[in-house]
Assembly symmetry: C2
Homo-oligomer: 321 residues x 2
């Protein structure tokens, strides 16, 4: 089994084929970065069409039982996720409705502050707002996992404290291994572990140590060092792989509708465009190399399973079993 | 059993109590007249809250099995319906999503033309549009019953022809018994019957013969004469009872956001305000008097069941069993 806590971009049929060939059991996708409720409904509708058009190789999953069924059928399971909470539009009643529509993962903020809390790029992080506390309560009740990737440190710590269910950081790395605002401090990782959560480790060059981009063994080593910080039960895979993400798509992700000025997201003026994938990961289907690399690094079969799938299954079970 | 094809207004707890005392098994409510998708999601969310607050006496039903379960539990079943199709916002993918959220009855138009077709008050009825045909296909696929109350004659006949499932006129009367643009011609009633549909008969004074407002036997007589036109399998109850509908609510129903000018809906300049209920129906809990009146009129027990519940159950089964 191989579970990826987050991917984004344009999922065409060849991507589903690569995911199947790469042995992916379940992938959380990104239905929206900037959309409100209507855009989010549009996105869900499109994914239901995409599922019908590719039903021989993929299936939308809504529960752990669905994931296991997809695995048994040799299909890639897609867990519907959002990298922002704009779909709620300030409404306490919307998590229940979007949960009914199959949404299982919602990141509290993307790159800018919203009505729920502060983002990792905000100069001052408000922490979780009163509405944010209400929304997490609803998400807990209706089986929607809280994702704190891209979320500011203070808001993340608040969310971990408030949430009655384990919280996820679906796609980031440890800041102590690669200093970057998008990455998570040891303090966050330890709080996340104490709450029972999981961080999925990324392959996105802008937030990943160079050695982890050079070889799969380097990436396995990064995973091992993150395990040293958070514990064997609290680390997973969350590649942040972006499919068919060119400059227009990257500009949209970074600028959305909030600014006319150039933005670099996790990049910088020097690294403004989409960086290449890790040298060892020419396409996503190579991700399956990770199992052997973790074994070479000295993890037992049971530990390899936890890191590549089992930890995600556990937090999924807790959130929307 | 007593099934009401349509009620509207503000359902407070005392209304649920009256419905329970009146022996109502299932009532289709009106979540919106003029709302788009967001308003409609808001309305669904509020009804889920209303259900939690009144779960001892009412329950939202989504299938015929749910209706039978509610009946067995002595609770009033509420079937979620809309008196307009604005929630779709021109989107072919939205019927599937709103069906997932439990919406089971959607009227194609309210009092004015929309992107689906023409209303009964429009000087020229366009008939069903291309989008209307697409939407009915989706409604048939995902278990949402087409309602042609308030819909223009040509659009209604088109909808009956296009729909692969029986169509409803949830709340109207026969125009040959009470001439009025809101009521349905014998031609429509016969087409509706041929398609297997049902018309629910109303108690709203503006569209109901005077004798049917005077006594329950008069109303049973109107039902018998409608059976002569449409057949015993195609007539039901659809009171159009409006709870706590005062002048502001009536103005909203009639003017919505589309006009500043005074509108009279089914009324007129002379009868501009909300007319009183039928003399025999001081409150909705008296509706149960109908069973005995139908028996006095000469209907058998089996026929009384069809007219008060069985015909609705049959079209519900066909549409969203």
């Amino acid at each position: 089994m191989l579970i990826d806590g987050l991917q984004c971009g344009d999922f065409r049929r060849d991507i589903f084929e690569q995911l199947r060939d790469g042995g992916f059991t379940c992938v959380t996708n990104t239905l929206e970065f900037w959309g409100g409720a209507i855009d989010s409904l549009d996105a869900i509708g499109k994914w239901l069409d995409l599922e019908r058009a590719n039903s021989d190789i993929m299936t939308i999953v809504r529960s752990v039982a669905d994931i296991k069924q997809a695995d048994a059928n040799g299909k890639v399971g897609i867990l519907m996720g959002f990298q922002n909470s704009g779909m709620f539009q300030g409404r306490i009643r919307f998590p229940e409705l979007f949960a009914q529509l199959g949404v299982r993962v919602v990141q509290l903020t993307y790159n800018i502050q919203n009505d729920v809390g502060g983002s990792c790029y905000e100069p001052s992080d408000s922490g979780l707002t009163r509405f944010g506390r209400e929304i997490i309560g609803e998400m807990n009740t209706y089986g929607m996992m809280v994702d704190c990737s891209h979320v500011g440190e203070r808001t993340t710590l608040d969310a971990i404290e408030v949430s009655q269910k384990p919280v996820a950081v679906t796609h980031a790395n440890a800041a102590s291994l690669k200093p970057h605002p998008r990455n998570k401090s040891d303090k966050v990782l330890q709080a996340l572990a104490a709450n029972g959560g999981v961080m999925g480790l990324a392959i996105y060059r802008n937030i990943t140590p160079e050695a982890a981009c050079d070889t799969v063994d380097g990436w396995a080593e990064m995973m091992a060092r993150t395990v040293d910080i958070a514990g064997i039960d609290h680390v997973g895979v969350g590649t942040d792989a972006g499919h068919y993400v060119g400059t227009p798509e990257l500009d949209w992700m970074r600028q959305g509708l909030w600014t006319r000025s150039e933005q670099y997201g996790a990049g910088s003026k020097v690294v403004a465009t989409m960086p290449p994938p890790p040298s060892w990961l020419s396409d996503i289907s190579k991700m399956g190399l990770l199992h052997d690399a973790l074994t070479r690094r000295g993890f037992s079969a049971e530990e390899v399973h936890k890191l590549t799938a089992g930890n995600w299954l556990r937090v999924y079970e807790s959130n929307f079993g």
